[in-house]
Structure formats: structure tokens, C-alpha cells
């Protein structure tokens, strides 16, 4: 029943993408309020799902891969809605919607919404650890989106082929600055998630620990490269995309391995 909210939410994101594609077909690629409101409505449906599922489970709804993907998509939309307009990253919605759509379509189609047979006791530290880590993933996802936008804009400037989208994308330096802030935000949240993991009182599986620290080190290295001005912005943008792809794969791997022991 609660999955219908995710279906509705996915339709909202699909609507945002269809609208973007329609304007693109007309040769006008411009930011519109429609995208923002479609994403906001999608976010409302995601929140409704999480509320109902959380209520049914009696805990934060991150007990299987389906819920993890929905929570990740929700975090991504949340950070976009908070940060996108603040930094005037006008086209970020047009780039965010496809990523959310991808996550939710996969979650809806794959047979991953498996209820755990045993009701696990609520552990506040564990809840905090899992939810804050997911929100960190949302920030990393948005950094990935900013990275894609940066590479699109940079490519056009390098090749001198300026399409309609060029005039609506933010300047390179603004994109890079937003990307850096999102990376720092994600890294801080992820670090808090990692540290809180030690207070859960639960046994810490070695594979999970290694994967989590690998992601942390990856992002830490990117930020270090940025901080020391050692890595060019284009490479940082590309690394953000790579790091997020790796982080999502790791998330899947962790879930796959600990399938029998939900977090």
C-alpha cells in the first residue's frame, strides 16, 4: 500500500524530466518553476512513504535495500530543495530528477522490498548512524549532480560549442564552489555516521567497516586534493561522479552481505 506513494513520487520526477525534455526539444533549455514544484511534490510523497513505513516498522525505515534506495532518493531531494535554490543553481533540478528517478525505478522494479522476518529492537544510535549516513549519501549524490553539470559546462567552453543549455547553467566557479560545499557537508555527515556506528553496541562486521572506511577515505582524499589545490576542478568533478558510483555500489554490497542482519 505504502509503495503507491513511491510510485506517485516517481511519476512526479518523471513529469519533471518530461517537461525538461519537452523544453529541450523546443530548443529552449531553461529553468522553470515546474521542475522545482514537481520535485517538491515527489518529496512529499517520499516523505509520506517513509512516515507510513517507519510507523509500521516502529523504527527508521532502512531495513532493506528498497527502503535504503528510497531513503537515499529522499535525502537527495531534501538537500536539493534546501541547497539548490540557495545557491541559485538554476538547472540542478533538471539534473537531480533523473538520478532520483533512476534510484526509485530500480527500487520499484527489483525484488528487494523484503520484510525481515524478525522485528529488531529499536537502537537510537543505530537509527542515528543509518539515517545520518543516508543523508550524507544524499549530499554526495548532489555533489555528483553538480559534478555532471560542471563537466557539461566545461566541455562546452573547451570545445566552443555553446548550446542553449550553456546560457542556463551556472558559471564554472559557482558550480565548483557548490560542489566543494556539498562534498564537505556530505563528508561531515558521513563522518558523524561512521563515528556513531561505534556507539551502537552492535558487532561491527569487518566487510562493512572496510567498505565504509574506503568510501570515507575516497572522499577525504578528494577533499584533501581540493584543499591543497593539487587537483584541477575538472578532475574533482569527475572524481565526485566516480566516488558516488563507488559509494552506491558499496552500499549495495554492504546490504547484500548483511541481508540477514538488517541495520
Amino acid at each position: 500500500m505504502d509503495r503507491q506513494f513511491i510510485l506517485l513520487s516517481t511519476l512526479c520526477y518523471l513529469g519533471a524530466i518530461a517537461h525538461t525534455l519537452a523544453t529541450f526539444r523546443d530548443g529552449i533549455f531553461r529553468p522553470r518553476r515546474f521542475n522545482f514544484f514537481a520535485i517538491a511534490l515527489g518529496f512529499v510523497f517520499q516523505s509520506a512513504f517513509l512516515y507510513l513505513r517507519g510507523h509500521a516498522l516502529g523504527r527508521c525505515p532502512i531495513t532493506n535495500l528498497f527502503e535504503v534506495f528510497v531513503f537515499l532518493a529522499w535525502s537527495l531531494a531534501l538537500i536539493y530543495l534546501l541547497i539548490g535554490p540557495a545557491y541559485r543553481l538554476s538547472l540542478m533540478g533538471a539534473f537531480t530528477a533523473p538520478l532520483v528517478l533512476l534510484l526509485q525505478t530500480f527500487a520499484l522494479l527489483a525484488p528487494i522490498d523484503v520484510r525481515h522476518p524478525v522485528r529488531v529492537a529499536v537502537n537510537p544510535w543505530l537509527e542515528f548512524h543509518a539515517s545520518i549516513s543516508m543523508i550524507a549519501y544524499g549530499a554526495f549524490a548532489l555533489a555528483c549532480v553538480a559534478g555532471v553539470m560542471y563537466l557539461v559546462q566545461e566541455r562546452q567552453l573547451k570545445t566552443h560549442q555553446l548550446h542553449s543549455i550553456f546560457y542556463h547553467l551556472p558559471p564554472l566557479t559557482n558550480l565548483f564552489s557548490a560542489l566543494t560545499r556539498l562534498l564537505w557537508l556530505g563528508f561531515a555527515l558521513y563522518t558523524a555516521g561512521l563515528v556513531s556506528g561505534f556507539f551502537t553496541g552492535e558487532p561491527l562486521p569487518r566487510f562493512k567497516m572496510i567498505c565504509a572506511f574506503a568510501v570515507w577515505i575516497f572522499y577525504g582524499t578528494i577533499l584533501q586534493g581540493r584543499h591543497l589545490h593539487r587537483v584541477a576542478p575538472r578532475r574533482i568533478a569527475a572524481l565526485c561522479i566516480l566516488a558516488f558510483t563507488a559509494a552506491v555500489s558499496v552500499l549495495w554490497a554492504i546490504n547484500f552481505v548483511s541481508e540477514t542482519r538488517p541495520t
Partner: protein, 348 residues
């Protein structure tokens, strides 16, 4: 009431002809001499047009005679004048205000010029309720065209293309440093354009220090020695080069050590010189964006092409506004010449 527009523009006459009629008479003269209830004169470098409303149809010849009486030369360009009545007058004005009738399609200066002409006519009570509604609707249509299409997008001159690109790379230009290498005319124009967008740190380096100093003063910059221009490259964000050097001055070998110390800071190079001052493979370097005169001109042409693509979308918006205007005020804009005629003199 007959709503009409009679005028001459860059489409029908050259500048020598147009300038004879610019400022030749006043709105009051049009009203009193031709018995118009309302009149508005629009005079720009590309057009001289009379908009008005009258009880009886006004003939082009009457306007020409008036212009003649007001001091214009002997009327010998009657065939260069056009007239639009009723709905066609509204359509013409909406196209003019939206920049569709301009020499550079989509230019926005015309909107300000029309607003000024309207304010002047309103202040002198020459513009009454019908012209008021017509012009207010024209401003609304133009605003909608600008916000719903890409008709005003992109720069169409070399200097403004360079500024647009700089903005797309750096965002806020106030913190940017510019080095002008060589004191050419296009460099000056580009530097001026950057200065107008907030750039304050402009350095000029020229083989002839005197000319460099003159240019620096002209563009609110400072002259630096030509022998030390490579040192300046470490600190700047934008390099405008237009020397007469026979061989490229800026090469990857020269830039590589400088770029190593600033990997996260882009460098925008505008090479206006012919032969080019900057080796083309500089563009392959990380964080360097090189544009020569051809690529700047090509972007200006791309922008124009993009604007042309938007004409049909803009015309659709205008058609909606014309239809709505005609529906609301159709009875009050009725015409003696058939409705919807956009006749040039030869046709009317």
C-alpha cells in the same frame, strides 16, 4: 477610431534617408495638423514612426506633407514609407518592441527607446487611452517574449561574447584580474566591456609604453612593462592578446610552469591578434579556455542563429497578444483600409 502607424525603417530606407525625418516634427504637430486624437513619435537610429488614433483614416501623404512642413527635405522617398492599421498596427508595434523588427534580432535597447517615447507622449498628453493600452500591451508582450523564448540569449558582438564567456567561467567578474597584451582597438573594446561588468584590476602591457599608458588611462587600468608580461600571467584570470607578433607569444611550454601553481584557477585567454598570439594547443591545457577571433565570431553567429530559431515562438506569443488586444479593443481600432493589412506604400 482608426489606429495607425506610418513610418520608415532600416528595412525600407538607408540611414541617409532615415536621418532626414528623425526629429522633423513633434507629436503636437501631428495631432493638430492631421486631426489625430492621439499621437506618438518613435524615433530611433533605425526607425521613425508615427503611431496615432484618429476619427478618420490618415493618409501617408498627409504625414509626408507634415514632415515636409516641419522642416524635412523635399519628400522624395514616399515609397520608403509603410503604414499599418488596426490589428496590423498592434502587431507591428509588438514586433518592434520585442526586438523582432530590429537590425540585430532580439536586441533589448529598443524596449527602452519605446518606453521613453511613450513616457514623453504621455507627459505631453499626446498619448490617450487607446495608445496607452496599445503600448502597455506591447510592453507585456515583449516581456513575455523575453522570458519565454531565447530571443535575447547570447551575445552578438566579439566584445560582448568575450564578456559573456568570462561570466560563464568566473561568475562575478569583480574579483578578476585582466592583462591586456597589445593596445589594439578590439582589445580596448573588450577591456572596456569587462570594465563595465565590474572588473577593476586591468593591466596593460604594450611594446610601446606610451601607447600602453594611454590605453591604460582610457580603460581605468595600469600600464605594466612589456618585458614582465609573463610574470603578470601568474596573477591574472583573463588575458586579452592582440600584439602584432609574427610568432605565438603564448605557448604551452611558457604557460605550464605558471599553471602548476594555480591548478584550481581557470585562465581565460582571448586572442584577437592575426596572426594569432597564442598557440592553439594551449586550449588543451587543464583549466585554460582559449578563444581566438574566429571562435568568438562563430559564437556571435551561433547566438544570432539561436535567436533566429526563436522567431516563430516569439511570433506565436505576439499573435496571441494581438488577438487578445483586437478582441478587447477591436471596435475602437477599426480601420478604413481593410483589417490586417500590413501594407507598404506600394500596396496601400
Amino acid at each position: 477610431m482608426n489606429l495607425f502607424c506610418i513610418g520608415i525603417s532600416h528595412h525600407t530606407a538607408n540611414v541617409e534617408t532615415r536621418e532626414r525625418y528623425a526629429g522633423a516634427c513633434s507629436e503636437e504637430a501631428v495631432r493638430s495638423a492631421m486631426g489625430c486624437r492621439e499621437a506618438l513619435l518613435l524615433t530611433t537610429c533605425n526607425r521613425v514612426e508615427v503611431y496615432g488614433s484618429a476619427e478618420k483614416p490618415i493618409a501617408i501623404e498627409d504625414v509626408l506633407q507634415l514632415l515636409q512642413r516641419c522642416g524635412a527635405d523635399e519628400i522624395e522617398n514616399a515609397n520608403a514609407f509603410y503604414r499599418h492599421d488596426g490589428e496590423a498596427c498592434a502587431e507591428h508595434l509588438f514586433r518592434v518592441v520585442a526586438g523582432l523588427d530590429s537590425m540585430v534580432i532580439g536586441e533589448t535597447e529598443i524596449l527602452g527607446q519605446v518606453k521613453k517615447a511613450y513616457e514623453k507622449a504621455r507627459a505631453s498628453a499626446s498619448a490617450g487611452p487607446l495608445l496607452h493600452r496599445l503600448f502597455q500591451r506591447a510592453f507585456r508582450a515583449a516581456k513575455q517574449v523575453r522570458s519565454n523564448t531565447d530571443i535575447t540569449r547570447g551575445a552578438v558582438s566579439v566584445g560582448s561574447v568575450a564578456v559573456d564567456l568570462a561570466v560563464k567561467i568566473f561568475g562575478d567578474l569583480r574579483e578578476c584580474s585582466v592583462l591586456v597584451l597589445g593596445a589594439g582597438e578590439t582589445s580596448e573594446r573588450t577591456a572596456r566591456a569587462l570594465n563595465s561588468r565590474g572588473v577593476t584590476d586591468i593591466r596593460v602591457s604594450n611594446r610601446s609604453p606610451e601607447r600602453g599608458q594611454i590605453l591604460a588611462e582610457l580603460i581605468n587600468g595600469r600600464a605594466v612593462s612589456f618585458e614582465n608580461w609573463t610574470e603578470q600571467c601568474r596573477e591574472i584570470d583573463i588575458l586579452i592578446s592582440s600584439t602584432s607578433a609574427a610568432e605565438p607569444l603564448v605557448t604551452p611550454q611558457l604557460l605550464a610552469p605558471m599553471l602548476r601553481s594555480r591548478p584550481d584557477r581557470p585562465l581565460f585567454i582571448i586572442d584577437i591578434a592575426v596572426p594569432r598570439d597564442v598557440a592553439p594547443d594551449v586550449n588543451d591545457m587543464e583549466g585554460v579556455y582559449l578563444y581566438d577571433i574566429d571562435s568568438l565570431q562563430s559564437i556571435a553567429e551561433q547566438s544570432l542563429a539561436l535567436r533566429r530559431q526563436q522567431i516563430s515562438a516569439a511570433e506565436k506569443i505576439i499573435a496571441e497578444h494581438v488577438a487578445d488586444f483586437a478582441a478587447r479593443f477591436g471596435g475602437r481600432t477599426s480601420v478604413s483600409p481593410p483589417l490586417n493589412t500590413r501594407a507598404l506604400t506600394s500596396e496601400s
